[in-house]
């Protein structure tokens, strides 16, 4: 389907590009939001990425997947913008399995709305690269190979980011839940 519309756009029917906007806007928005954590900024980056992809469509290799090619544009653009925001991220030590169990039990004590709120807040505390690695691996169900194609990073870097992201996520969540549960008690 993508190939059909790519050929249409390349033959001059630029309105056919609407198909790509409609199909990939949610995908682009979620991966860019994982990096930028700001709705307005994400919308701007997604818009720019779509325009950039349109302008570079001639150079698209039709043997590749459009989603991967476009996803890479979105990720690069988002990381470029994220670089301008200077925030220091903490690197945490390994979380013991016992603590993960406690976190898992504690989160069940708070209601669904609060769970959503705290987990979203914790996700925002992750560094852009950790966040995108987790988003792609756990939520978009991408394999390591697909993440390599999307980001251009090496396998070891992706694995390191996934491990670091996991540690940071649990550590931040543990801290937040500790305070929250203390308040409840």
């Amino acid at each position: 389907m993508d190939d059909f519309y790519i050929n249409k756009v390349l033959s001059g029917d630029y309105n056919s590009y609407n198909y790509f906007v409609k199909t990939y806007k949610r995908f682009a928005f979620s991966i860019s939001y994982a990096i930028l954590k700001d709705k307005k900024l994400t919308e701007e980056v997604v818009q720019d990425s779509f325009v950039k992809a349109f302008e570079q469509l001639k150079s698209f290799n039709k043997e590749a997947k459009f989603q991967t090619w476009f996803g890479r544009i979105v990720i690069n653009e988002s990381l470029r913008i994220a670089k301008t925001k200077v925030i220091e991220y903490v690197v945490y030590d390994e979380i013991p399995t016992k603590d993960i169990r406690i976190i898992n039990d504690s989160i069940k004590l708070i209601n669904e709305q609060e769970q959503k709120y705290y987990i979203s807040a914790v996700f925002k505390l992750l560094s852009p690269k950790e966040a995108i690695a987790l988003e792609l691996f756990y939520l978009k169900e991408c394999s390591i190979k697909e993440i390599i194609d999307l980001t251009g990073w090496s396998e070891s870097k992706i694995k390191m980011l996934l491990l670091r992201g996991r540690k940071s996520f649990y550590s931040h969540l543990k801290k937040i839940l500790k305070t929250e549960l203390m308040e409840i008690i």
Binding site: Y14, N15, Y17, N18, V21, K22, K25, R26, F29, S30, Y33, A34, K39, T42, E43, V46, Q47, F50, V51, F54, E55, I100, I103, N104, I107, E112, Q115, K116, Y117, I119, S120, F123, L134, E135, F137, Y138, L139, I144, K159, L162, R166, F169, Y170, L173
Partner: protein, 114 residues
């Protein structure tokens, strides 16, 4: 690499805002404006090349005629000053050619607009 199921379940709870409903229209408007601008720029560029070629050809014809005859302009004999005029004209042509060439490359790779 094995997935951490607890982390997977927790991340699924995470909230991701939806893109605004006007985003599609905004993107398509920007794209149609870009397409329009690019085609305008191309037309301007073709015209620039057209006039450059007309100027170049007429310049060659005129200079050939002037050099053959004994024409004077403001008291100067053009055949005497031939070399200076040729140097000035060729420099101007090269300068214009370089500008037009850079503009063509710029428009092709979208480095800048007219």
């Amino acid at each position: 690499m094995q997935k951490d199921n607890t982390l997977h379940r927790l991340l699924e709870i995470k909230e991701t805002p939806e893109p605004s409903e006007f985003m599609d229209d905004k993107i398509m408007t920007i794209i149609s404006q870009n397409v329009l601008q690019t085609s305008k720029n191309r037309k301007i560029l073709y015209l620039a090349w057209f006039f450059f070629m007309i100027g170049l050809v007429s310049g060659i014809i005129i200079s050939t005629i002037f050099i053959k005859t004994d024409t004077t302009v403001f008291g100067f004999n053009l055949s005497d000053q031939g070399l200076i005029i040729k140097v000035l004209c060729v420099s101007a042509i090269l300068l214009l050619f370089e500008k037009l060439y850079r503009l063509s490359i710029g428009i092709r790779y979208k480095q800048f607009d007219i």
